[in-house]
């Protein structure tokens, strides 16, 4: 225990001194190399492609700081959380760097205050998507670096649209979308939208963000019976009642539906690009992307976001300084961001990278369409929602509400009022 406490104090001291000497954000990593440089052993917990990307960047980092050693431990997303929770509670066994989903960052940051090293003075928040910075900020402190992002658009099957004589440019509002859906159902037999009836609440949540709302307000209080929320949910119900939606009860269901032409559109984040290519390689050239439809034609378009991760450094690390430098090195390097995107489909949150040429190219799979401009725009416009520590639980409740409204035909306002009460009682 005592040793434990000591190491935390030491780590905190290191953090403070680090913050003190790193006052002006843009300092380059080469500077430290000159005077003694960084050293230490850094253990990284991450998953899949994220880990692979960090491994490659570590090679480059070691060219500048040869005294830093890396250990990479690969795990699944849930496993990272299970291990992190145990380790944070006991204060031992923590890695030096860990990747977390952006939406979960607030939960860890709030439940374990002070257990993550601060980046507040290292990061220039204007360089990142505002929504990603919001994810990484807890109590006004930036406790993680925003990594990949999930700005959303509407993926659609251009061939099905064409067959039905529907033009994507004509779809501006959700009402237009529903009309198009009816036509597509008539002409091709496919549903227009992939929308889960009980597995998730994605369509509703994205609509909510588009309207500038969320489960929680800025202070973190629930507001699921707000005007925006009711409006979004009613639109979901309207589409469902028209019989133009495809229910996906699992991720694999959706993939299977995709290859069987069951639906024409998926509203999803940019990382879906890779999934579609992997899942249905034979549909090359049949896909395209448009912005999510809006509620009012004259509304300022607001983007929506789903997913994406962040990179954090537990303050119990013995090498906080080196770990933080490595995180900054990976996250604020244009080339690193481009490589992560091109090799692993990690869409950056870092604006200088997004402005580079790599994101101006058309994509053959999408008929040569320059799809990334659209996503970057959506990312910039996504509202800075407050995920709070209760996001995971709120998501479950919200799914239930969607199921009640769609499947049991209950009244929208009543269900959302009940959900609001439940949240208020639970999240006190």
């Amino acid at each position: 225990m005592k040793r434990n406490l000591l190491s935390i104090i030491l780590a905190a001291a290191v953090t403070v001194s680090l913050c003190a000497c790193n006052g002006n954000g843009g300092s380059s990593e080469k500077k430290e190399n000159g005077d003694g440089g960084l050293s230490g052993e850094i253990t990284v917990w991450s998953w899949d492609v994220a880990l692979a990307h960090l491994e490659e960047q570590a090679e480059k980092f070691r060219e500048l700081h040869p005294d830093v050693e890396f250990n990479f431990e690969e795990m699944g997303v849930d496993q990272v959380y299970q291990k992190m929770t145990t380790c944070l509670q006991s204060g031992i066994g923590l890695p030096d760097i860990v990747s977390l989903e952006g939406e979960q960052m607030a939960k860890f940051g709030t439940k374990f205050p002070g257990k993550f090293a601060e980046f507040t003075d290292m990061i220039n928040t204007d360089d990142f998507f505002p929504i990603k910075v919001a994810e990484c900020t807890v109590d006004g402190k930036v406790i993680a670096y925003p990594w990949d992002s999930g700005p959303c658009g509407m993926f659609y099957r251009s061939d099905l649209f064409e067959k039905a004589g529907v033009k994507a440019e004509d779809i501006v509002t959700w009402d237009d979308f529903i009309e198009a859906g009816k036509t597509i159902k008539d002409k091709t037999g496919s549903d227009i939208l992939c929308m889960a009836e009980s597995r998730n609440d994605l369509v509703y949540r994205l609509m909510l963000m588009e309207l500038g709302g969320f489960y929680f307000d800025e202070e973190g209080n629930p507001q699921v019976n707000s005007e925006e929320s009711v409006r979004a949910m009613e639109m979901c119900k309207k589409m469902f009642d028209e019989g133009i939606t495809f229910n996906n009860s699992s991720w694999d269901d959706m993939i299977a539906g995709m290859s069987a032409d069951k639906f024409a559109c998926i509203p999803e984040a940019v990382w879906m690009v890779g999934s579609i290519k992997d899942a249905v390689p034979d549909q090359e050239g049949k896909w395209a992307v448009m912005p999510l439809p809006r509620f009012d034609a004259d509304q300022e378009p607001l983007g929506a976001s789903n997913g994406g991760s962040a990179l954090a450094v537990p303050s119990a690390s013995e090498n906080v300084e080196a770990a933080q430098e490595f995180v900054k090195f990976c996250m604020e390097d244009v080339d690193a961001n481009i490589e992560g995107f091109q090799n692993y489909g990690l869409y950056p949150s870092y604006l200088p990278a997004l402005e580079s040429e790599a994101f101006e190219e058309g994509d053959e799979f999408f008929g040569g369409q320059k799809i990334f401009e659209l996503f970057t725009e959506a990312g910039k416009n996504a509202p800075q929602v407050n995920y709070t520590e209760n996001f995971a639980e709120a998501l479950e409740m919200s799914k239930n509400s969607v199921a009640k409204i769609l499947l049991e035909d209950e009244d929208v306002a009543e269900v959302l009022d009940a959900e609001q009460k439940e949240m208020e009682a639970k999240f006190k």
């Binding site: 998953w47 899949d48 492609v49 250990n71 431990e73 690969e74 795990m75 699944g76 997303v77 849930d78 496993q79 299970q82 291990k83 145990t86 380790c87 509670q89 006991s90 031992i92 066994g93 991720w251 694999d252 993939i255 299977a256 539906g257 290859s259 069987a260 990382w271 879906m272 890779g274 999934s275 992997d278 899942a279 390689p281």
Partner: protein
Amino acid sequence: MMDKRKKINISHVITYVVLIVAAFVFLFPFYFMFVSATNSNADILSAAPKLFFGTHLSENLKNLNERLDLGRILLNSGILTVTYTVLAMLIHAMSGYAMAKYEFKGKGIIFGIIMLTMMIPGQVMYVPLFKLMNNIGWANTYQAVILPGLAGAFGMFLMRQNMLSFPTSLIEAARIDGYGEFAIFIKVVMPSMKPALGAMGIYMFMSMWNNFMWPLIILGTKSMYNFPVALSMLEGVAWRKDYGVIMLATVFAVLPILIIFLVFQKQFVAGVMGGAVKE
């Protein structure tokens, strides 16, 4: 004989139909696992998944080998499971024997306390156990996985119930013949406990082979992972799962259990029934 054959009655037919359907329901997932291990991800996820053996086995194996050190993981799982099973069987048999055949002060209370430990969910012990193991420097070791579950109320109780029916007079006879207590236990009691030991052995083997949560928490490096933890690593992120590879890894994880169960099937069934009837 001929007569008997003709007298197949309708209830038999129904029984067999039901059994065949049930067998299909239980066996199909296994079949699909084997088949999928030889197919590509796209084949498995297509709207009508491939139900016959494909040609992707070597490719899946190559991909799997790139992501996991199969030999090492098999070794880890093997060491953990065999050591645990042998030690756990011995400890449970000894404690069960003591509870069944010895009289000593406070026996009832001790027995009660041991049984009460069954009410503590394993999850609440993770954090204190994790601290303990780290403080004695056992994080990321085999013994940290093996020791905490070595003595459990369930195994002790199962053995006790089986030992209760063992005739005490036989033990006394051995004592009179000059056998020591340990020799009695090993040479007289244990041989007749084979069915119960077999059942418990399989149970212990499976529980350790499938052990996930605790190894995940306490094992820190890839080279120490057992099968379930390594499998969970393969899962990766939802939108990039390669089911062919996952299924192939699952085949490797399931095979030992399948073999053990087939070999010891008789003991397993006999042992579970053993404690049920008291003569």
